[in-house]
Every structure is written in structure tokens, then in C-alpha cells.
Amino acid sequence: MSFTLKDKILAKVQKPTRYTGGELNSVIKDPDSVEIRYGFVFPDTYEIAMSHLGIKILYHTLNERADTWCERVFAPWSDMQEQMEEYGLKLFALESGDAVTHFDILGITLQYELCYSNIVNMLNLAGIPPLAKDRGPEYPIICGGGPCAYNAEPIADIFDFFMLGEGEESIHETTDVYLEWKRSGKKDKREFLERVAKIDGVYVPSFYDVIYNEDNTVKSITPNNENAKSVIKKRIMSDFDKTPAPDKIIVPFGEVVHDRVMLEIFRGCIRGCRFCQAGYVYRPVRERSAKTLTELADKLLSSSGYDEISLSSLSTSDYRELRGLTDCLLKMTEEKKIGLSLPSLRIDNFSLELMNKVQKVRKTGITFAPEAGTQRLRDVINKNITEENIMKSAGMLFRGGWTNVKLYFMIGLPTETEEDVEGIAALAERVLGEYFAIDKEERAKNINITVSTSSFVPKPFTAFQWEKQNTRTQLIEKQKILQNSIRSRRIRYSWHDNKTSYLEGVFARGDRRLCDVIIEAVRLGCKFDGWGEHFDFEKWMQAFKNCGIDPDWYLRERDIDEVLPWEHISVGVTKNFFKKEREKAYRAETTPNCREKCAGCGVASFGAGVCYE
């Protein structure tokens, strides 16, 4: 006997429980009893990965298969990576500790563009060639899914296939096809890809030829294989109430970002904010019933032992059975001394009453998201909230004893003028005025308002997918204008770094030519670009230069008739609808939400959810 490599390494790294597995409800199987070793990859740290709801759902459903062992694979932090490289330890799966180099399938979840370097870095650490064309049947099939899969062109050459939309069914269908292929001897990878390409929602990038014009815009995207669909449409779970949800979740040892039970109350959003990709791609809205959710909450709390539960959705207040659900949950949580958190609530009498019930003692901070400083610009982005709404809510909060208010905005929105930027400061001042207008006896002391801005990044499958992204100089200019417009010492201003927004913008609307840049950037040492201590903008710029690609070009305004790099993908919302929404935006005209009036976006084609309420 001797000490294992991992033992020696773990003695030297921070937070070793990131790498040991063995948490409660993690699944251990006998590797000899399964036919498929599946690695579910989240290309970020343990703490981020374990906060993600999707991985819990898919891990659970894959492990219900007797033929499959699904394990978690996360990005090792840089101290761990150094040790792994020094000792020659390959990227491993948490449950078994086995190297993933020859697993059957690696399913990579694509949550944000800034994780692309981590994907390549992880494949390098696993000893797996990053480009799909260099991987024979001896290497794992690499597939992806999640929000970035809707325009995965910058990483298309890395992946064997993508699953678009909700994965609860397609992950099984693709695994079934893999199993058949494996049983038949795994001869030709192409044979597998042809079979998997026939599944709805599956996109096999190598089956499409992308031809470019002389000016580098896309000329055409055409299938080169008869099994490839001309347009790949995302999948949804039509009956969300009956969609299986895990009743057991892994309970991490170390603290993670969202360290609680998450209850997914509905999918989609009725609002239609024109900048919001999530608001469009998760359509149509489908709810779970309060009854199903209460039962699920009870099971999850007893199987995890968590003392906190949170509702999860894009907009809690839009859940139709919110009162009934919270009544049941409050009863449960009071009995068991469990905390209930309610994110994304609109402030009104009901929600205030609810918050008072929930947080009996502490009044934590509240975040408002007006997104834009003037009514005109709020109408442009279809954020259906008026200044009156904001003032009324602020007044209610201040009277209720809250004094820590954060106002969240975006700068760089389409049609934005100096007046709109100054409007942010003016709005914050008026919110402050609302506080001082309240009698001293009726308000708590020490008001604290934080104005926070991030930079707008145009995303595919939104009304703003054609817009020009503000340059970094423009954004810095706007940040200065805003900073100078804020007069009160009670208002603090914090802003998001625009270098990461720049890179995010390049990849969000990028094309296949960017893959070389990602591989080059990783060669130069880029990884963990979402982490301030690792993000190295200069290295990225060097990588673009080395590949002869001008990143600014990707931030330009796209011609309305241009073939977009994601032209062959459909989220169900029609391009024509996006065009109309863009025109309405220019006229500062709003669109009512799905429950007020159907706007005819196209997702009724799924035959489900709010479209048929």
C-alpha cells in the first residue's frame, strides 16, 4: 500500500472538499455494473457549480438509469491545477475519483460565455483533444446544453453535439442512442452522430457548412448530411407540473453560493423585456402547481436537512398561486425553524406583508431593477415599470423599515442618450427624496442607496440581437457622466467592469472563426475569465491578434438582412417577432405581457403553457 496522489495533493490545496466528493446524496455505483460513464461538467468552481439547479435535475435523472453512472466534473481552482500538473493527475470525476479521459460521455453545461476558456482548459487537463475532429471513438462524446447552446458557434468545433432547450428528455434520448452505438462496437463516430442528429433539439455542428462572405459575415449555413435538420428547434417540457424533479439533492460540505433547497416554481417569463435572452428563450411560461411544490419542498427539506428554502424562477410575483404556496410553505418553515427566501419579488402590499412574515427580525438589503433611468428608455426596453411604481415601492419599503436599497441599471442600452444616463442619478435622488419625505418617526435611520450599473451586451434571440454594443470608451464616458451627476453622499455608485462585458459581447454573437481564439487564449494561460483575479484582458487581446481576428467587428450593428451565425437555430420565437419588437423599441412603444395580451411571438407552436391558459 502507499498514499494516493490525491492524498498528497489535497494536503496542499485550499478547500480540499471541492475535490473529494462523498457528500450526502451523491451517487456511488459499481463501475462494472454500468455501461455508460457519464461526466456532467460544469466549467467553473465547485461552489458555483453546486449552486446550479440544472445540474441537480440532470444528475438525478441520469442516475435513475441502471445502465449509467453520472458523476460531477468541475474546474479545479488554480492551486489545484498546479498540483495536478506537477504530479500528472488528470481531470477526474468527483464520485469515483477516476480520470474522465476515457469516459463515455461528457455533458458540458454552458451557462455563460466567460466559461469557454475553462472548457478548453479542462479538456487539456483531461488529456482529451479539444477539437471534435481530433477525437476518435476512444475519447468521450462531448455534448453541451444550456443558455449558451443557442449560439454555440464559437465553441462549435469542440463539441460533437448540442442539446437545445430543456434537457430532461433529450439527455435520455441521446444516451439511449449512445448505448446502442456502444453495444454495436463503437465503430464509426459518424454513425453515432447521424443517429443522434435525428433527435429533436439535437444540433450536430459538424453536419453544417458555414460559408462566409468576403466581408466575413455569414453567407450561408447549410446541412451537409441528410440526417441534419435545416432548422433545429429547442425542446421544452410541455407539462411542467408533471416534469420529474429530484426529491434528493446533494448537500455540499463546504459553503456554496446557493446553499439551500431551490424550488423551481415555473419556467419562462411573461414579461418580454427586450434585452433579456432568458425572457425569450425559456418561453412559454409553464407553472408547477402549489400542491406539487409543497410536497416537493417537504421531501427536499427532509432528505437534505437544509434549514433554508428559496423559490426559483425569473419573476416570483408572476406565479399565479403565490399566496397559496407561501401560506403552505410558511406553515412548514415555521414548524421546522427553516428560513424562506423569496427572490425577484415586485414590491406591493402583498409582497411586503410576505417579507415581513419571512424576515421577522433582520431587514436585509433590497434590490430594485429599474434597468434604465428614464421612462422613455424603460419603454424602449419594455421594462413595464413606471417611475410612480418605483417611488411607491420605495416609500413602502422605507416605511416598512428597510434602509438598504440597491438600484440596478444597465448602461449602453440602444438609443441611450446622455439624458438617460443622468436620469439614473436623478431617479436615485428622487428615491432618496421619498425617504426624507417620510416623518422621522416612521422611517428607520441611516439610509443607504447603492446605484449599480452593468454594461448592456446584445444577445442572440432578443429584440436587440442586431444592435451595436457600446465601445469600452463610450461606457467609461457614461460611467463618468453618471458618477458626476450623483450629488448626494447617501448614494454610492458601483459599476461592473466593462472588459468582461466586451469579451462576453464578442462571444455572445460570435461565429465559428472564434474557436481558434479560445484555444489560443488558453494556450496563453487564460482561464476563469469570470473571476477578477484570473481574468487577463491583455492575454485575450493577444490571442485575437495572434489569430488575426478583430474582436471589435463582432460588436458592430448587424444588418437586418444579414445571415446571423445562429440562423439555423430556433427558440420558437420568430425572427419576424424580434424585428417587430425592435421597431417598437425605436418608437418607445411597449408590448403587454403574455397574460395581458398575446403578442404572437410564435412559441404557441409548442402547444403548452401560458399560450393556452
Binding site: 502507499s2 462523498g22 460540505f253
Partner: protein, 220 residues
């Protein structure tokens, strides 16, 4: 509502869990077991739980101790079964006793027995007897006022060789542990490397066999 003292073991897979993470994990295990903790009174109530001499990260153990308050109708045997079913693999309750007041008192812990399994050169050249013949053993030791050269001889009660599991040499040692005097196994290893230069210990693992009182007896 009763107080209990629990003796538990911790194995390989969970040995990297920090003390704070262990406390949180145990709270959750108790919830899963369906046992009610007694909460402290006050503005921010928390479950009543005291761990005797928390284990360092990376150390496995057989006889760790904690004191808890449960508000429960279950028998002692039932509590042990419920807890063991709720704990993650690697932790095991080996004994549980109901206790009144402060006894057994965790302050009476004065010693601990460890097994140090080590990769080293010159394993056969180490004589435990010779090492213990030193009347002074001075090594840098962390104290409240920073790292200081300290004579640790009187904190070492016994050192003997046993058959190694993973390394080249294993030592069973009994050293000071507790609130008045405490010696870390890694400090002892540094002392061996200094006073027995023919033997040089590299990587080693630590296992705590038991926490003992001044007579070398376990508390429960």
C-alpha cells in the same frame, strides 16, 4: 430535553472537512434524522453543540467527542441508529450517553493518542527510546504570541513504532492535548526530524485514536 455526549469516528472520505463545515453538516444530519436540537436562547438562537478539540483538516479519527442537547423522545439506541442513517458515509456514531450537568467534562482531556503513518528515509535508524531520552526537545511551536522555540519534551508521553499501512514507518504516539497544553502531531514530526537526523519524515497522514484524561482513560 436532555444532554448527550457522543463519541464518533471519521474516515478517509470525509477527513478534509473543516470544523465549521462539520458543525453545519451535523446540524443538517440531525434535521434529517428527525431529531429536534435544543436551541440556545437569545437574539440569534443556534443549536446547542460543543465539539471537544476539533480535528484538523486531513486527520481521521476513531474516538471524537461532542456534547449536544436534543429535545427528543427517542431512546439512546434509536438516536444512534437515526443519526448513523443520516450521516454521510465516513462519519459514524460509536457511542452515545445521556449525561447531566458538566460530566464528563471535556476540560479533563489532557492527552491524545495518534497514529502517524509516514513516508521517510532511514526508518530503521529511528530509535524511539533514544528520542525520548532527550531531556529537552526544542522546536518552533505556534503559541498565542506567535511562533516561539519551545521545549515540548514534557508534552510527549510515548512514541512507539508499529506496522505502517501506507508509508515506510508508522508511529503510535501519546501527546498532550487539551486546553492547557496541546501538541500537534506535525510539531512532533518536526522534532523527530530535528533530533533524529538519520530519519527524515516527508509526507505523513495522521489518525487520532482517542482523546484521553490525565490517567490515559477515555472519557466515555
Amino acid at each position: 430535553m436532555s444532554n448527550y455526549v457522543i463519541k464518533y469516528s471519521r474516515g478517509e472520505r470525509v477527513k478534509y472537512i473543516s470544523h465549521l463545515d462539520f458543525v453545519r453538516m451535523f446540524h443538517r444530519a440531525v434535521r434529517r434524522a428527525g431529531i429536534d436540537f435544543v436551541f440556545s436562547s437569545g437574539f440569534n438562537p443556534h443549536p446547542i453543540m460543543t465539539v471537544a478539540l476539533p480535528l484538523s483538516v486531513g486527520v481521521t479519527a476513531d474516538g471524537e467527542l461532542m456534547r449536544v442537547g436534543f429535545d427528543s423522545e427517542f431512546s439512546q439506541e434509536q438516536i444512534v441508529t437515526l443519526l448513523n442513517d443520516s450521516l454521510p458515509d465516513g462519519y459514524k456514531i460509536v457511542k452515545l450517553i445521556k449525561c447531566d450537568g458538566k460530566t464528563p467534562d471535556f476540560n479533563s482531556i489532557e492527552k491524545a493518542e495518534y497514529i502517524i503513518d509516514a513516508e521517510c528515509t532511514g526508518a530503521d535508524k529511528l530509535s524511539c527510546e533514544d528520542f525520548l531520552k532527550n531531556t529537552q526537545i526544542v522546536v518552533p511551536k505556534r503559541t498565542k504570541s506567535g511562533e516561539k522555540d519551545t521545549d515540548i519534551r514534557e508534552m510527549i508521553y510515548s512514541v512507539e513504532k508499529i506496522a505502517p499501512q501506507n508509508g515506510d514507518m508508522a508511529l503510535k504516539v501519546c501527546i498532550a492535548a487539551g486546553n492547557s497544553q496541546n501538541l500537534k502531531p506535525e510539531t512532533l514530526v518536526a522534532a523527530i526530524n530535528k533530533y533524529c537526523p538519520d530519519t527524515q519524515i516527508g509526507f505523513f497522514s495522521v489518525h487520532r485514536n482517542a482523546l484521553l484524561d490525565k490517567d490515559g482513560k477515555e472519557l466515555i
